[in-house]
Structures are given as C-alpha cells and as structure tokens.
Symmetry: D2
Subunit: 354 residues, 4 copies
C-alpha cells in the first residue's frame, strides 16, 4: 500500500522519536514547565528571529481555534478563504473557542484570498455599528487548502489591509515548513515581516506525532492565552511530550530537511503525471500536495494497486472558472511527506501512465 | 531530587514507550481510524465487561469537560464536590464545554460527597421551573482530590439518587487504576454496576505520556461525542499515538501492576511517616496520595534534601472539622507513581524522622 | 418629516395601545402566566389552525436567535440567504444562542435562496463526518431582506429538501403579516403546510411596541425553549406587556388590516415612482418595502424636504447580475407602515418627479 | 385577591403609563436613538451625580447578565451570595453571557456577603495560575434576596477588597429605589462613592412595565456593551418604549415616592404581624419585602381569603444558624409595591391575627 491520502498517515521521524525516547526518563515539572518545552520556546525565537510567546499543544485544530480566539471577540468577524481548514474542516472549533465569532468565507481561486477582496469584505461590516459583527482578524493558510502558496508580497498586501483596519493576522501554518522551504524565504519574512501576528506552527505532519505551536510576536496578544489553553483542555500534563518533539523537530534544520524532501516528492509526482493521459492539475502544486483530476479508469488502476489518495470536493470554489470534473473523472489529492520514498512516487507514476 | 509533587512528573512506562516506538512505522489511517485505536477500544470493552463507546484523547481536562458536556445541557446543574478537579483545577473547562452549565460544589469531608447531600442539593433546583438550572449530572472523583476512595456502596447510593432524579453519573478516573486496585474490585463493579454512566479513564498518570479515554456504557449518551471532540480540537490526527499507548497500558494487566506499585509506595510512606514527630495525615491515604501536615522544620529538611511535594490548600473544606494547620506547619501532598522507588520513599521517611 | 427609513420608527397602533392601557390595572401572575398571554397563545393557535407552542418576547433578534438555537446544535450548519437578517444584522446573535453553530450564507437574487442551491450546499457537509458541521436547519425570511416574497411553492420546495435531509425549517416573519396579506394565503399555508417548523412571528413593526412570538408546530422542538428564553433574559416579568399587545394585535384581523394598509402604501409609492426619471427598482416590491436606485439629485431633493429613507448596501449579492449603482446614484430603502398616510406617499412621489 | 407574591404582579404606575401613551405618536429613530432614551440617559447622570454610560433594556436578567459579562472574562470568577438572584434565579444567564465564567456563591446570613469572606474566597483563586479561574468581579444585591440591606460601610468595605484585587463591582439593583430610600442616602453614595462600577438599575418592579438600565461609571468598562446588548437580542427596536418609561419613572422623584410607599407598606405589615401568634421574621425587613415563618394554620387562613405570597426556600443558608422552619410551619415572602394599599395590608394583618 502506498498511502498518500495525507501527511498525517505516517508516524514521527526517527530524530523526533529518538528525542521522545531520550526525554522519557527522569522527573520533570508538569504542564509545560519542563526543560524541553523551555528549549523549544527558545529555539522558536531563533527560528523567527523575534521575541515570541510560544504555546505548545497537540492538535492543529486546537492551535487554530485558540489563536483565533486570541484575535477576535465573540462579536468579531474573522475573514478567511471560504474553503480554508478553519472554515470547513474543524467542525466549528473557531466558533466554539471564540464564543461565537463569525467566520466570513471569501471566495478565491487557488485557495487564496486577495487583499482587494478582503478590503471589500471588511467594508460590509461598518465599525461601531452594533448590528454588524466587527472586523477583527484575517486568517490565511500557508500552504493553502489547494496546495498553493501566497507569495510574500501577497501576504504583505493582506497584512497591510489588516493593519489599516486594525485586524489581527493569523497564519495557519499546518504545513509551515513546506511553505517556507518552497518559497526559499525565512520564517520571519513569511510572518511578522509581512504583517502576521500569530502563527499556528505545525509540526505534526512534517515529523512529529502530535505537536503544534501557537507563536505570538506581540506578547500583549498572548496575555490570556494560558487561560484559554487550560480551559480548553489543551495544556498537556506531561509537557515533555510536546517539548521534546518540538525541540528535536527544529534541531539542525531537521524540519526544513523533512519539508524539502516532501516537496521534492510532490514535484516528482507532478512531473511524472504530466505524461499521463487525461490527468490534469487544476492548481499549481507548490508544496507537498498534488491535486489531480483523473479519468476514473486511471483512478481505479491506482486504487486496485493499493495507492491511497483523498477524494476532493468537486465543487470547490477554488477551482478556476470553467474547470469542471467530468462524470468519468475523479478529483484526488495526493500528499507527500518526509517519509515518502521516490520509488513510491515512481510506482504511482507508472501506474497512472496508462 | 525526589519529585513526589505529582504522578505526572514522570514519563511513560517502558512497556508503553516500547509500544509507541513499535507503532511508529508504516502508514495508518488518521483521526482515530488506526488499528491501535481499534485494539484499545476492544480492550476497554473487555476491561469493563460491557459494550462501550470509547473516545481517546490526550488530556484529562479535555476528557472531563467533554464527558460532562455529554451529560448536561447549557442550563443544567452538575453536582460535584466543592473541591473536585472539575470544579477547581480546570479553569472553567466544564463551563466552556457545556456552554455554561453550572457546577454545584457540595461540601464533604475527605473529598467526598454523600448521596444524602446530593439529594438535598437536587431539591434546590425544581424540575421544570425555568428560573432554576436543571439537575443534569453528578460527577465524582475516584480517587478523590483528597486521596480517598468512595466505597462501592457509596457510589451505588449516589448512583441510585442520580437515577431517581434522572441525572447522568460521571466518574473522573484520573487515577482509575489506583482506585480499582485499592478497592480490589473490578472496573465493572466500580462503574456501571454502581450506576456510573461515563468514565474519564485516566492513563497518563499511571504509565502513559498523554492518553485518556472517555468511556460510555450507553451508546445513546455518546451520540454527539465525535463532534464535540472534534470541535474542541481533541481529535488527534495521528491517532496511533493514543491507540498505541492505551493498548500497551492495558495489555497483560500492566495498568493494574503499575497502580499496585504506586499504591504500595504510598502505603510505605504512610507507615514510615507514622514515626515522625509532629506529622499527621488529615485524610486516610487510600491510593497513591499522601497528604501530610508537618512541622515547617521537617518540611525544610525535606526541601533542602531535594524532596518535592505539592503545597496543598490549607482551608480545604474536606478537612475534618477542627483540623487546623498551625502557623508553624505546612500542608503537603506527596504522590507516588509506577516509577517511585522504595529507596526514595525510605529516604523521605528517614529525612522526616527528626 | 416623512420617515420611511423603517417600519419601526412609529409607535403602537391605537388598538394595541388601548389594550395596553386596559391591561395595566390589577394583579396578574408574572413571567407569562398572566391571562393576556394565555389569550394570545390561544389566538395564535387559531391563526395558524394548528396546535402550537408559543413564546412571547420583546425583540425580533431574540426570537430569531432562540428559534435557531432550538433547531441546531452547536456543531450544526444553518443555511440562510447570505444577506438575511440573521446573518447580517444581529451582531452574531444566532451564533451566541446556538453556542457557535455556523450560518452558511447562500447567494441568490432578490434576497431568496432556492431549493436547488440549498440541496447543493447541504452536500458540502456530509452527515456523520466529524470535521464538518452538520446540516441542522434552514432559515428563510418572509418578507425577505430585499422586500420580496417566496411563493408558497418555493417555500414548499425548500421544506421538501429540508425534510429529506432532516433539517428544521425556520421562517423569520418579522413582516409575517405583510407577507401573508400580499400572498393572499392563510398563515397555515405559508408555514406548516409548506414544511415550516418554527416561525418568528413579528408584531412589533406592524402595530405593537415590542412584541414577537416564537411559534412551534411540533411541541417536541419546543421542549427546552422555556429554559433558553429564561437564561437569555427574554422572559419578561410583567408578562401582560406582551400578552396584551399580541392579543390586541390579532383581534378582529387588526394585524392583517395594518399590513394591508402598509402594503398598499408601498404599492402606491412604486406606482408613483415609475414616473420619475432615472429611478429604478432592482427588486420587485412585493410587500411594504420599496428599494430604489435614484439619481443623487433626486435623493437630495427628498432629503432636503425631510424625507427619511435607509441607504442600502450597494454591493448586495441579491441584486440582479449586471445591475450596478452608478457613482451619481444612491440606493435607498423606503418602508411603509400601518401609520403611513397616502398624502405622505404622494408628497414623496411629487418630490421625486423631477 | 391580595397579591403580595412579588412586586411584578402589578402594571405600570399612572405616571409611567401616561408617558408611554404620550410617547406613542410620531416618528422616532429606532434602536435607542430616540429622544426619550436620550432624556433618560441624561436624567440618570443627574440621579447618580456622575458621567454615566447607560443602556436600557427590558429585563433584569438581561441587565445582570450583560453587566457581569462586561466585568468578567470567560475564565473569570464572579463572587456573589450563594442565594443571590444571579446565582439562583436566572437559569444560568450569567454563565451564558460571560461565555462560561464561574459564579462563586458565598454563604452569609441575611442574604449578605462580607468583605472578609470575599477576601478569603479570592485567595482560593491565585492570580496567574492557569488552572484557577481568575477573580474578576463581585456582585451584590441591594435590596438582597432576603429583603435586607447592606449598609454604605459594608458596601465600601467590599468595594475596597475588590479594588485591591482588581475586581469589578456590580450592584444588582432590581429594587434600587427601595434600597436608596430606606437608607436615606443618595444614589451616588450607594454606588460609585462606595466602589461600585456598574449598576443594574431596576425600574420594572417599582413603576414601569419593563425597563431596566445598566449604568456604568467608567466608560472604558462599557466599551463593548453595545455589541453585547445587540447580540443578546436586548436592543429594543422601538426604543421609545424604554426611554419613555425610564424618563417618566425618574421625573419629579416619582421613583423615590413609589419606593417610599412600598417600603412603608412593608413596615406596616411587619408591625402588624408582630401581634400574630407564632409568626416570626427570620430576617429584618429593611425595604419592601417581609419574610415570615408562620403556622400552617395561619397560612391557610390567608390563602383561603385570597392572599397570595411566595413560598420561600426553607433551607436557605441566609437563615440565622439554628433557625428552623417546623413541620407545622410555612416560610413565606410578602412583597409590597407602589400599588399596595394600606387597607390591603391591614386586611392581611387582621387575617393573620388568629
């Protein structure tokens, strides 16, 4: 079986697992007061070249929902792509954690929103008018749900609109490493230098078992976060579990190496699929995800051979206008990870080359 | 350093860690659809000798808050001990997850509530009267926050009152294993046979790194739990992390062995401290916790020697009437775990024997 | 001054005010146990030709938010028009009262959603998939935010889709009377006979000072409503205030007479404006609202003469495609009420006839 | 029938009703932008001799819950008397509006908490410790649920403790007028001069039909109140309803006259009952409520003669220690209002004099 349904179908990388084993012995203070967590926090400050407030937790949904709750009051409007993970895949977690803020889903091809559309959308919710929810935050995903990337300029333009209207900017970085390696930029450039206020810094998909960090660049925004994390049940008691994963993940650029590999595997798949009859990619594959429209016959060959991919939403508003999945076609997502082998990709390519 | 501040200052047991390592390789379906989770679920049905609905997650606060949300509407009253963990140590997580239900803290020595007091308290909230929150659930902790145990009869009496008034019964079993081994009863006897509807089955403190199970005996009560877990961010993506821990924890009575050891270490400490001048235990130590009132001088000797314990709340309503901590005394909690060594206990005893 | 900005700029009708005065004397049981409320409830059963559960309260936002909370769990999806009152004008009240359900705004010209679009939208949230909020309800406004009406057939088709997918159907009837008189149908035909489960039955705009009813046709759906109303602070203590208004409003078809008058005034305005240069109505005026795109010059004349209207949202998705408000134009809403005089309308018409 | 069950069983006073009638004609801006509301706001500034931010709404539960939400975050602790209205009679409204804050009920005879007990209770929730809800506010009722009054000194001492620990102070003034006339002090002395930050200023029970004001002395605390009121559905559209009531209520000391009358009627009842065999008052009657323990035989005579009172909670922790209601006794509350006639009181007295 070659499982490319997601980058969370694999375990931890060897480096991370070894660190977990090493951290297992001895007594450590609980609830995040352990040495491993302290080390991870210091390393993230280095990674981002900025003073940061860091909160580790086990899930991306928790990270996103808590981050958004730090940016928006219950009567706030949070702008995001209509098909973003926070809007579509978290069963209303942002609404729960913000105590009822409204996620305003904006359309946009390739899974991206634009600064212009954000500006227009903000205009619909006039400041101080009590019947209207109040623009409070914008959330972008980098890598997007369509496997694409915002350029640094695009982020900066969104950041600029947000700043002008006093919105906080959240970046859902479930695949942060894949984005930063693909853009060949620094974490700082992709975040605070472009106007981002808080990052969901994902590590689970790219080498850990369960570890995410919420990273704030302005400590004032993090003021109440400890209480929010605790009362949502996201403060892990044996904090070493998180601290050991995160510090190992960051050590010696392990995280970037992992992402670079995953991205390369995706690029290999893209190149290989270009030779397959009837296969087309509606979105540019810019990180470690490949979205392919394929003949059902091709899909069947793959499935029969044990290749797993994720059927995707065929009516996605992120699809280019006029792109339509035919009745004899499927729309699949392939995701590569640090564990994906070149031979696996080649096998998929060979199978698809009918 | 001998750290007895909590049973969460240690890592995982060897058996659990080995299982984690073994489970790390290969692809597994995400979000709890992995084989390890399925195995853990089946094992818990065996453990409880009952069909069960099981939901794994990483934290006890999450488990408790989600379990209570399954039992109480936002306008519900949840009865519990005034100093229970759900009331005092979770920063309002039950209130958050239930969307505002009211925890009604009842007093009671030794950390326990009685069926009679529960009955009286229920009477204060007449059924169907809209100004009153509506009695919905009772939550008991076994082991209690005072390190004591409810007898099976006490639980059954509480269960009987609950049944009569149509309240759900939650058992916070953060130290479930310690309780069941101390009582020398079966998990079934301590739960559904005594009227318990849902259990927070803790494994973290007694051998795991981060793993708890919410266990329902009636599937109807679990109907919406999957959504609740997801939207609170407690559905771990790489579910093997939880499944592998829990199945290893339960295999070959490992969990009971661990608890038996921890309990024995606590008993050893109790016995040893009985010879210490000025030391007294306000509560019977019935599992793996020892609460001691000690002269400040003794406490200083321990602290200087690197012994860590947890200073406890000196005005606890669970203290017997007239018990008072003097100004030259401290009130400390010692907790033993599966990792505690007899020599460590003996060293503490020797130090305290001034 | 001729204030046509809204139908809530006037007071109560004489019949309603007289009833309030008459009901003021004597002692009455509080919290809705008074005789006036009982009478209003019985009258609403007659009005709807159905057993009903009725809850009176003072505001439309409260009525809508409570009704939706009765239909949707916190992890539910509530489908509505993208620019409906519940989505746009209540500062997130539905999100607050449902504890975080998601309002899914659907586009649609003339302020209406279609059964087909509802069906497609439901498909995006697969049943039982925990990452997706679960389709729970659909809310339609009758009269719509664009002053238009759903035909009985359109409602029935929406109701049929809802029934098939087990969604509750809510009708926001802030202008219920205007709709039912315009359609010349019975309240039953416009509601339960067409698949509606719960109605926000507005009376404030059409003759009362502050009185709305939430009307359920299935008592099971109303089971917890009393608690919801109380804990949201919408149970008025001197219940006669509401009961007296509602019973007077319904007596002798007063409510229908009022609505018929308001609708006639709007029709008069429409007809009159047809002779005004440069004035066009993007939406058919089907009840008591007239939306007009007008030259700024015309608008200035009206404003200078003391005519008040409400500037409307120029980027409304309810506008027909290609309809665009020019830079020398305004987009205004005029609303007539039971108090509007024919001479006032004629004066507006005369002013606009430049 | 002589209904003394509550002060909300009567309608509006003539002065208030006349004002409502007078305010009914003509067009007024909606949602609180009307002239009557502006007048009421200005009058309240005069009443309190302070700049104030005022928000009118229709119910006391709404006023209390919104005021508390302005003072406490979701992870906050709100200290109040264990049997206060906010804790016991609002079906969890404060929990709903604060998104899950915890009401910490303190015991205390005569329905009052003390500064000392408040101080001790605060100590249980250490600042900055994330597992503990954070002390955020204290709420006192004046008149209390036991019909008693805090002296100005008692309020000031509570205010001083609150200030020292940075808690906001809320005063539930459902019977504000009765308290201020009984204490013969100024509204300023009973509130901001004693450390109160926000008042639920009740008018419904003492002359209006449905009108309460939330009054802030520090505009910063009121910053988001408009949004909170709107999204909870408490912004009345025809704002004149509230503005006209409140301004009439305050005009020419009408509110104080009404309260003085009600208080006098209660005093008359107290004096009269002193001659009744077997009747005793466990609490001093300091405003317009009289709580009496009476022989069942006496109670039957009253009930048979059509006298209505409210059976009270017999296990109230506000009762003096050792006070116990016998099995042949009842515990009843009588409440007088601006409408109560001396002859009615005398009739009750005569009936009770067996």
């Amino acid at each position: 079986m070659i499982n490319l349904a997601s980058d969370n179908v694999v375990g931890a990388s060897k480096q991370v697992l070894d660190a977990l084993i090493a951290a297992n012995s001895g007594a450590e203070a609980a609830y995040g007061s352990d040495h491993y967590t302290a080390e991870a926090e210091a390393m993230l400050a280095d990674v981002f070249e900025h003073d940061v407030k860091v909160f580790l937790l086990a899930t991306g949904t928790g990270a996103n929902a808590l981050a958004l709750a730090a940016l928006s009051p219950p009567w706030g409007a949070i702008f995001c792509h209509e098909e973003s993970h926070v809007a579509d895949d978290e069963c209303g977690a942002p609404e729960m954690f913000t105590d009822g803020a409204k996620l305003i889903g904006l359309p946009g091809v390739n899974g991206k929103i634009t600064a212009d559309r954000l500006e227009t959308a903000i205009g619909r919710y006039p400041k101080g008018v009590v019947k209207a929810v109040q623009p409070a935050a914008v959330s972008i995903s980098q890598v997007t749900e369509s496997g694409t990337l915002y350029s640094l300029e695009e982020i900066a333009r969104i950041g600029e609109v947000a700043r002008r209207h006093e919105l906080g900017v959240h970046l859902d970085g479930a695949r942060f490493a894949n984005a930063v390696t693909a853009l060949q930029c620094s974490p700082a450039e992709m975040t605070w230098k472009a106007g981002v206020d808080v990052v969901s810094f994902g590590a689970t998909k790219n080498g850990c078992l369960a570890c995410e960090a919420v990273v704030f660049f302005d400590p004032a925004r993090a003021e109440h976060f400890g209480f929010r994390r605790k009362r949502s049940g996201h403060t892990v008691s044996k904090g070493r579990l998180l601290g050991a994963q995160m510090s190992a993940y960051l050590r010696n650029n392990h995280w970037l190496d992992n992402a670079r590999h995953a991205n390369a595997m995706a690029a290999r798949l893209v190149q290989g699929l270009s030779g397959s009859t009837g296969v087309r990619l509606p979105w540019p594959s810019q990180a470690n995800e490949v979205f392919a429209i394929m003949p059902k016959a091709t899909a069947k060959i793959l499935a029969d051979a044990g290749v797993r991919a994720a059927p995707w939403y065929e009516l996605s508003v992120s699809l280019p206008p006029h792109e339509k999945i035919g009745s004899d076609e499927v729309f699949w997502r392939f995701v590569t990870s640090f564990e994906t082998k070149a031979e696996q990709i080649d096998e998929v390519i060979a199978l698809a080359k009918v």
